[in-house]
Symmetry: C2
Subunit: 402 residues, 2 copies
């Protein structure tokens, strides 16, 4: 089988590398023997040993009848969306690592793939090398999914790990992440939760069958977190993680990205550095978790190549992800109506009797600031009570039951 | 689609329950609509609401052309092997949760399935509800697997958790496990590692493509573990877990089941109670881990039903697991030749200068007994040195790098 790789950045180069490195092994896992790259679509100059495969003309790939599977590792929506659409219409399966494309256009592209009896797969788009798309849409098919929650951004998990374990201030940890190449020069997409938002949209669609758009997700990053938050949370027995969460609540779902308190002894709390983990709660299996490297050249390429082999083996047999309609806004529950506990940090001027009056007999931490964890109630109600304390509310962070 | 369930014990009853409970949901995940149970094969009396489905005659199932998928949840080799073989020969796919059957007869049954263009699947045979078979033989197909290691027996993990966290002696923890229904009256298969051995055979076959027989695996249980071992290991920064491990070493593999020291901060160390976890190291993805409930009615049924849906969707399309030949004994490396570090506990009469002379400048714990961890070397060499210390060697436990 011959394939084409569109986009020769880190992930694209990794895909070509893995296919070469493990060629014999892969040929034994593939129904139709070896899988080789025939084209690399890349407009920048390529000078390595794969330069002879490079084309700048997308039509070379589109018009080549030998190419049944195309890998899209360009990133972004344009021109990826047009290229992927054209490939699917031409009867070629497409494998992508592009979470922005899947989060924005997944439903459209899956519908197009189905209409053309080919596959559109995207294991690499969430949590890098960790198998999560396939478990959610395969092994767990007998379950009704109740909740998906994950540490799905490695950059922010690295920063939080430094804040928690080394008491390093946010700005220093961010700088370190940039030095190590984990964070971009402009870190907005990571630290403001935009990247995690795309991924929780994809996981929500697989878990609940409806396309959730990034604009429908209440999204909050970690840039406002203070060392006082991580420290006080620690003393209360919790660790702060940036979580993407999607949960069935009655006939609706609650989807959000935000920092959240996780119990210290939970496995999620022990996921450190750039690693990712995704927890799934479902009505037959109970609770499971998948853990591993959430990004990087080789782990992401591992997921892409797994999909490529699957697409080669299932040519003209479209997979069914059950991702089949748009989530209307009425399917998404207002986050303020969702029940949760909150970690609240206020300034020292607070009257502690008022805290107990508003929230009951909660444990109160008194240091430079005062912090406590509320009982579970609708977030709106808790926030109104917090504002009624008559002092500055410095931070409000959700508390999970993981 | 109609299916049959052979064996109406805990798992079989769970399968019928999940198919009913999630029927609408499952019908949307299945290419051919709803999946219903037409027969339950059970020789014991059944009095619940499914009694009308019960038959004592296997031929009812075998001869019914409506039945394309059969679930085997009887356990044991006889008559499961004969029934499963007959079903496969009759063009019916078979889904099993029976680890003994898969560990002993997996290659034979997969070969038979392939010859008859049907599927033989067994996600539930290892680690209950945790997706592990499918990730190993699907998502990770682009990787050369280097190592698989797991906590794959919930009973012993429950006992060890009690010993470690509550300092409860082995015999008391075993009794508690029996009271809670986690351990059988005769706990041999669990506590002596026989159950874990079957599961590591299955994982080895998937990871390395060759059928490893239980008799080829160096197997040691937890029945000889002393609280001193768990306590001293703890002081050295480790937790003791019963691990099944299979690892590529040159052209061979090393396969074993034994108690092993795992670093306290590793995720495996934090897998507690009856939960299971499987860690995979592979040449592209690096290290990933899957975690969840390793046994129980509903989690195991979850895995079976996932396979059932897959078999219904892939009727006459056999999956390829790459499990294709027997592992000759020369494929299995003698465990004494495998490099490892060892935790060694000896009696107080030991001459500590001799320890340093034999093993270098190791940290030594002195309590009622004396314990230390050796550097990495061939196990044979380390054991010979330990015997040369001229004192009673009370326990020797392998130390991992997880």
């Amino acid at each position: 089988m011959y394939i084409a790789v569109m986009g020769y950045g880190t992930v694209g180069a990794g895909v070509v590398k893995v296919l070469k490195m493990n060629r014999d092994h892969i040929s034994r896992k593939s129904r139709h023997g070896p899988i080789d790259v025939k084209y690399i679509l890349e407009i920048r100059e390529v000078t390595d040993e794969n330069a002879h495969l490079v084309t700048k003309n997308f039509n070379d790939i589109l018009n080549d009848k030998d190419i049944h599977v195309v890998v899209e590792t360009m990133g972004g929506i344009h021109p990826a969306f047009d290229y992927v659409s054209a490939c699917l219409k031409a009867g070629k399966s497409v494998v992508t690592s592009n979470k922005e494309l899947v989060a924005e256009k997944g439903l459209e592209l899956l519908t197009l793939a189905r209409a053309n009896q080919v596959n559109f797969t995207f294991e690499a788009s969430v949590a890098g090398g960790i198998p999560i798309i396939r478990p959610l849409s395969g092994s767990l098919n007998g379950n009704i999914i109740e909740e998906v929650a994950g540490i799905i951004n490695g950059t922010t998990n690295f920063i939080l790990t430094k804040m928690i374990t080394e008491n390093m201030p946010y700005a220093d940890a961010l700088r370190l992440a940039q030095e190590k190449g984990y964070a971009e020069k402009d870190p907005t997409a990571d630290v403001e939760g935009i990247d995690a938002c795309r991924k929780i949209c994809i996981l929500s669609a697989l878990a609940f069958g409806k396309h959730v758009h990034p604009r429908q997700v209440c999204t909050e990053g970690i840039s406002k977190l203070d060392l006082k938050d991580t420290k006080y949370a620690g003393e209360l027995g919790y660790v702060i993680k940036l979580l993407g969460r999607s949960k069935r609540v009655g006939d609706q779902i609650s989807v959000m990205v935000s920092p959240a308190l996780v119990k210290k002894e939970s496995l999620l709390a022990n996921v450190s550095g750039v690693n990712n983990a995704v927890l799934v709660r479902a009505n037959a299996v109970g609770e499971i978790m998948m853990y591993g490297p959430g990004a990087g050249m080789m782990p992401t390429a591992s997921a892409v190549v797994g999909d490529v082999i699957d697409c080669c083996n299932h040519y003209m047999r479209p997979k069914f992800f059950g991702w089949s309609e748009d989530a209307g806004d009425d399917f998404i529950k207002d986050y303020l109506d969702v029940e949760t506990a909150l970690f609240i940090r206020v300034d020292r001027s607070v009257d502690k009797a008022k805290i107990k009056e508003a929230f009951g007999d909660v444990d109160i931490i008194e240091k430079d600031d005062v912090a406590f964890i509320t009982p579970v109630a609708a977030e709106r109600e808790l926030r109104i009570k917090a504002e009624g304390l008559g002092c500055e509310v410095k931070s409000v962070i959700r508390v999970t039951d993981y």
